[in-house]
């Protein structure tokens, strides 16, 4: 029995799951209604549903970020890409009130499907740009994506002309705020992306190649893996994920703000990936872990809010959680704790 327990603890997802459960417990302890889900207004309603809905954009970005980090890279431009995608979609949809046959309807500047496709395509292009800089030009990922991070918000501002574009178009809001079969529609989007990615990773050699490239890019190349194509691909995918997240976010707030949309989402995404057990040095990764990591972050925010603590403390708590998780993941830290607990140190006999 103890063996099973210690084996389970060694599982990579053990700590993320425990953390999430703890956070949910804390929430439930302070808020009696936290775990309560009911059917209201044609859909499921409750704090848990809320958390899932709000976490959707972060989950998407984290999925893309996981693959990038697995190849030993990083993408700090995702926030800017979110803003660009949101800005483009908002501009293309816009929405003006027009009276047709005596009925006031909202009309878009461009058909909504076109706007959606364009936004995701442009986001993917941004990712492609990053990937080319890293794989073809050979820049370090943090610097390559720093360029787009700096310039990207400027580009988003360019699209919105410095304003915050408000979107007046009902069907668009369905993306971020709508419900399907009682659950938030955004969850379906996340689920679809996750399932597609999971199948691609496990049913093809993609997972193996990504890990190989992350652990030793040169050896992978010698072994015949198209390392460059893979790297460009994961960055493009990450960009696309950020694009979809941008749609969800702007759909949720019904507007696009070139300056603030997606602010700090890159840091949250990197945090989510690290919390989920993937190391920043690349190699083995866990998609499920990143999703759990994103949920942890969202639950944390919710916990702070529901505890009645001023939201400003959000950042401090995030910091403490990050420190705690980092230390737990550090072998040196665990050794120090072990040394403190078992005195004197075993195995090292002073001659």
């Amino acid at each position: 029995m103890l063996d099973r327990f210690t084996n389970a603890m060694k599982h990579r997802l053990a700590w993320p799951v425990i953390t999430l459960v703890l956070l949910l417990a804390v929430n439930a302890a302070f808020n009696a209604d936290f775990l309560h889900i009911e059917w209201r207004g044609g859909h499921l309603y409750g704090s848990l549903i809320d958390i899932l809905n709000r976490a959707a954009p972060l989950m998407l970005v984290s999925l893309g970020m996981t693959l990038v980090i697995a190849t030993r890279g990083i993408d700090i431009s995702v926030g800017a890409v979110v803003a660009i995608a949101a800005a483009l979609a908002a501009w293309m949809i816009g929405g003006a009130l027009v009276v047709v046959d005596g009925v006031a309807t909202h009309v878009t500047r461009f058909p909504m499907p076109l706007a959606l496709i364009a936004a995701v395509a442009v986001a993917a292009l941004c990712g492609l740009w990053n990937g080319m800089l890293v794989a073809r030009v050979g820049m370090q990922p943090i610097i390559a994506t720093l360029i787009l991070m700096v310039a990207g918000r400027g580009i988003a501002q360019l699209i919105t002309n410095g304003q915050i574009i408000t979107i007046y178009y009902g069907p668009y809001f369905f993306l971020g705020s709508g419900y399907l079969l009682g659950l938030p529609f955004s969850l379906f989007i996340v689920a679809a992306v996750f399932i597609a990615l999971y199948l691609a990773i496990t049913r093809s050699a993609l997972g193996l190649f990504i890990q190989s490239v992350g652990i030793n890019p040169e050896a992978s190349r010698v072994a015949g893996i198209q390392a460059r194509a893979i790297i460009v691909g994961v960055y493009a995918f990450c960009g696309a994920c950020a694009g979809v997240a941008g749609l969800l976010i702007s759909s949720n707030v019904k507007s696009a703000d070139g300056n603030n949309a997606g602010q700090l989402i890159e840091l949250d995404a990197i945090l989510a990936v690290t919390l989920g057990g993937t190391l920043l040095t690349g190699g083995r990764f866990s998609l499920v872990g990143s999703m759990i990591g994103a949920l942890i972050i969202q639950t944390l925010t919710y916990a702070i809010y529901s505890l009645g603590v001023p939201p400003e403390i959000n950042l401090v708590v995030k910091a403490v959680v990050v420190f705690a998780v980092m230390l737990m993941q550090s072998a040196e830290f665990r050794d120090s704790i072990r040394a403190l607990v078992h005195k004197p140190a075993r195995g090292e006999v002073r001659a």
């Binding site: 050979g138 390559a144 700096v150 990207g152 990197i270 950042l315 401090v316």
Partner: protein, 363 residues
């Protein structure tokens, strides 16, 4: 015995990883200039020369296109308006030279302004007590992060990221809104101008903050080139494992660079307080990126071990002159600054890569 130097290391590369010509070093020389006048530049300094040349080019273009651009005060304003960035970027240079990174600098600046404002305005402390206190606070903060990074082998990116969250969070805990500073000491220092250049038409002067920045810069150059700590920073950045085997104080050096960065952030925060006369949680948002950009444009490699503090100065001046050009132009919106800086970063990094590839690794 004759010298056995190989300029180009060919043959089976069964040796240490960098036994080839170094990306920025080399026994060959780079020739700059045309025709009769050519300069032989030691390849080590090429990125620095490139940055300085570009800066001079921009200054020249500005003077040509905009009246009033070519004025000493305009140049000195670069120092006045970017004093805090110079100090921050200098601290960041050391961290990056040692192979790390510090994302918390902007937040520490904000925290410094907030603590200063809060203590001076709301609790009536004297500035002469507050300033040493906040310097100590920033330094300890940096030291703590450095300790975590070194002792537990944590990733600098994540640790300083958490530090960034922590510092800004603490800011908001003190106050959500900004606190204006009306203390006379701060006002006097903020407005003081020391004349530097005097001619018939104008007097160009410099602020206290800018003076502090220049002092910090000179001290940093001394540390980097004339002290054992500075050289250890370069060594650790070049190869931490080798530095350890050579018996260099790696642990002290790593903790030291983050401590230094913390100190510089705090000092930059003090200068920022003089500049803005308020404490606010939203001060210096994104400043860490500007600092990193300045360091990179100044020629320091993000991989560590290569770069000059002097280059960072020009990196900052470059960012400043872009801002100045855009404001002189008046027609371009401010967000163009972001795009231009991004493009500049791109060009510089591309050049660094091309240069490195040309020096190239022989197989």
């Amino acid at each position: 015995m004759s010298a056995i130097v190989d300029a180009e290391h060919g043959g089976s590369s069964a040796g240490p990883p960098q036994a080839g010509p170094h990306p920025l070093g080399g026994s060959t020389n780079v020739f700059v200039g045309r025709g009769a006048v050519t300069f032989r530049v030691n390849p080590k300094y090429v990125p620095l020369v490139a940055t300085i040349s570009l800066f001079l080019l921009m200054a020249t273009l500005g003077s040509v296109f905009y009246t009033g651009f070519f004025a000493p005060q305009v140049f000195l304003n670069l120092f006045i308006d970017n004093a805090f960035l110079i100090i921050t970027a200098v601290g960041m240079t050391f961290v990056i030279l040692a192979g790390g990174i510090d994302l918390s600098v902007g937040s520490v600046i904000a925290l410094t302004t907030m603590v200063s404002a809060s203590l001076v305005q709301r609790h009536g402390w004297s500035p002469f007590a507050v300033i040493p206190l906040v310097l100590l606070m920033g330094t300890s903060f940096g030291a703590f992060m450095g300790f975590l990074i070194e002792r537990f082998r944590l990733q600098p990116f994540i640790v300083t990221l958490a530090g960034m969250f922590m510092a800004r969070g603490l800011c908001y805990l003190i106050s959500i809104d900004s606190i204006d500073i009306t203390n006379p000491v701060y006002s006097v220092i903020s407005q003081a101008r020391i004349p530097v250049w005097s001619s018939a038409e104008e007097t160009a002067s410099i602020s206290v903050g800018a003076l502090i920045a220049i002092a910090v810069l000179l001290a940093a150059i001394f540390i980097a080139h004339c002290t054992a700590f500075g050289r250890a920073v370069y060594a650790v950045g070049g190869s931490e494992h080798s530095a350890m085997l050579m018996g260099l104080p790696v642990r002290r050096t790593v903790i030291g660079v983050y401590t230094l960065s913390g100190f510089c952030s705090a000092l930059a925060g003090v200068v920022f307080t003089f500049y803005m006369l308020s404490g606010y949680g939203l001060h210096a948002v994104g400043l860490e990126l500007d600092a990193i950009a300045a360091v990179v444009i100044g020629g320091t490699l993000l991989t560590g071990g290569v770069g000059y503090v002097f280059g960072t100065l020009f990196g900052v001046l470059m960012l400043g002159i872009i801002q100045t050009l855009i404001s002189f132009d008046g027609t371009l919106s401010s967000w163009w600054t972001r795009i231009v800086v991004g493009a500049l970063l791109f060009v510089f990094c591309l050049l660094q890569r091309v240069f490195a590839a040309r020096r190239g690794k022989p197989s």
